[in-house]
């Protein structure tokens, strides 16, 4: 037996350390389709509870949309269940090519390549297009999948302070002698809900001859006037060289991702990106669903407009009730509680009130910045938001934090 007592003990100890550090993650089983209301079994074995979901990435409410389900059913019937091959052997169908073209049109880029997930897109893209003669300069708060991709790439890596353009410029000057330079950022930062200032970043990239990379996973489909993403919001549709994004959030929420951008960069991914070369791509049933999602979003901005209104309503309600929010104008609305225990207890009490929203604390966010991250959806109706607000106010009163300053909350509960 190779899994000896000694080996077992090492792992048990590591798992205990995770538990003792308050970092143990537990799944909650959902017995219904993803929606504004869900049926949850938590803890395991307990009776199902109907709760309002305030923490999903189902920004446009398309995860269970009848037209998307119908398209997925048709895709399953016409193109089967699995491909049993990677793309370049016999794993590419006409609908994969069709989806790539549709994404290119939707994002207004030159070309697109699908990946099994955006995690895979970010893991594979840098290594495929940069070498040890080049440099990657990333915002210090970029998503974990970008960090992993950077680790796999031989190019030099440097960082700039979050959204600090002066610091970014200094870094571009420091690395001016590199063959290729790439500035890397998230479009919308998922923990704070703020957006990267792509207009200023694009100007700096032009000045110093650097490429601009944006992960728009928390933006594609709803940020910008017609929902094309952060590059639309900042009026730089033609100035972003690479966009990576996911179909696992607003765009139907199933799975899959892509790299979209300059033709040559996409071609390099097709030749060299390892998650593309050595893994099956997105299943036909999902591809068919995403194609429908893009059709819906290209015809009308109704859903992103509703999302914007819902997010404004939610922010206004929480602010008037006396909560401290992270400033922003996206559907990610973090309610700041600062103390990790308070965030955990607050989340538990919300659940008792029928509201599903999760507390985030160190190391996911900096120490003393614990929060409940709420995410608004076009699937929410005003009555959902009113019910959620009522629960937040009730729990807020219990902990006596309404109308209190950051200093007062920290004095009461600690950092």
């Amino acid at each position: 037996m190779s899994f000896s007592e000694k080996t077992r003990n090492i792992y048990n100890q590591q798992i205990n350390e995770i538990k003792e550090g308050g970092l143990f993650k537990q799944e909650r089983f959902i017995h219904s389709p993803q929606d504004a209301n869900i049926e949850v079994e938590f803890p395991e074995g307990s009776r199902l509870k109907n709760v309002i979901n305030m923490c999903s990435n189902n920004y446009l409410g398309l995860s269970s949309h009848p037209d998307v389900l119908k398209a997925a059913h048709e895709g399953l019937d016409r193109r089967g269940y699995g491909m049993s091959s990677v793309r370049f052997i016999c794993g590419t169908q006409d609908i994969h090519h069709e989806l790539e073209k549709k994404v290119t049109e939707f994002l207004d880029t030159e070309d697109t390549i699908l990946f099994p997930s955006c995690m895979d897109a970010n893991a594979g893209v840098f290594e495929a297009i940069l070498t040890d003669e080049d440099v990657m300069i990333s915002d210090r708060l970029v998503h974990a999948s970008i960090i992993d991709g950077i680790r796999l790439c031989s190019a030099e890596h440097d960082t700039f302070k979050h959204s600090n353009m002066d610091h970014l410029e200094k870094k571009l000057q420091l690395h001016e002698d590199k063959r290729l330079k790439m500035v890397i950022t998230d479009g919308v930062f998922s923990m704070d809900g703020d957006t990267a200032h792509l207009d200023e970043m694009a100007a700096l990239c032009e000045k110093y001859d650097a490429m601009l990379f944006v992960d728009d996973s928390h933006a594609s489909g709803f940020i910008g006037k017609t929902g094309r993403g952060t590059h639309e919001k900042y009026g730089v549709m033609d100035k972003v060289d690479i966009i990576t994004t996911t179909f696992g959030k607003a765009l139907g929420g199933a799975s899959g991702g892509c790299v979209s951008g300059r033709k040559q960069l996409v071609e390099m991914c097709r030749q060299k990106a390892r998650p593309y070369l050595f893994s099956n791509t997105i299943a036909p049933v999902v591809v068919s669903g995403v194609v429908k999602v893009l059709d819906i979003l290209s015809k009308t901005t109704e859903r992103r407009d509703k999302l914007e209104k819902n997010a404004d309503y939610w922010r206004k309600g929480l602010t008037e009730a006396g909560f401290i929010l992270k400033e922003g104008d996206t559907p990610i609305v973090p309610v700041m509680l600062f103390n990790a225990n308070l965030a955990q207890n607050f989340s538990k009490d919300l659940y008792e009130e029928g509201i599903y929203a999760i507390g985030f604390f160190f190391p996911v966010v900096p120490k003393g910045q614990a929060r409940i991250r709420t995410q608004i959806s076009a699937g929410h109706e005003i009555h959902h938001l009113d019910a959620a607000l009522e629960a937040f106010v009730k729990v807020g009163r219990k902990y006596d934090i309404l109308g209190k300053t950051k200093q007062e909350i920290i004095e009461k509960y600690g950092m």
């Binding site: 210090r140 030099e156 440097d158 960082t159 302070k161």
Partner: protein, 84 residues
Amino acid sequence: MDEDIKKIVLDYVIEEYLEDEDEKITYDTPLISGGIVDSFSMVSLKRFLEKKYQISIPDDEATPEAFDSVNSITELVEKYIKED
């Protein structure tokens, strides 16, 4: 130890890595093991020192241990200034 180099390294670390103005560090504060500088961000510090002092620090000497305090960084810089 060269006080000028120490001061320059300290100022650079404060300017480059500290986000909070209230945060204070000294010549001995553990930077990497203390979570102030992540090992990724060491790259810019190394590059800054190499450009500033016209030296080349080999990658195998640029360890997290050697970059863990202003004092240890200064020692490393002085070693290569002398070698040059």
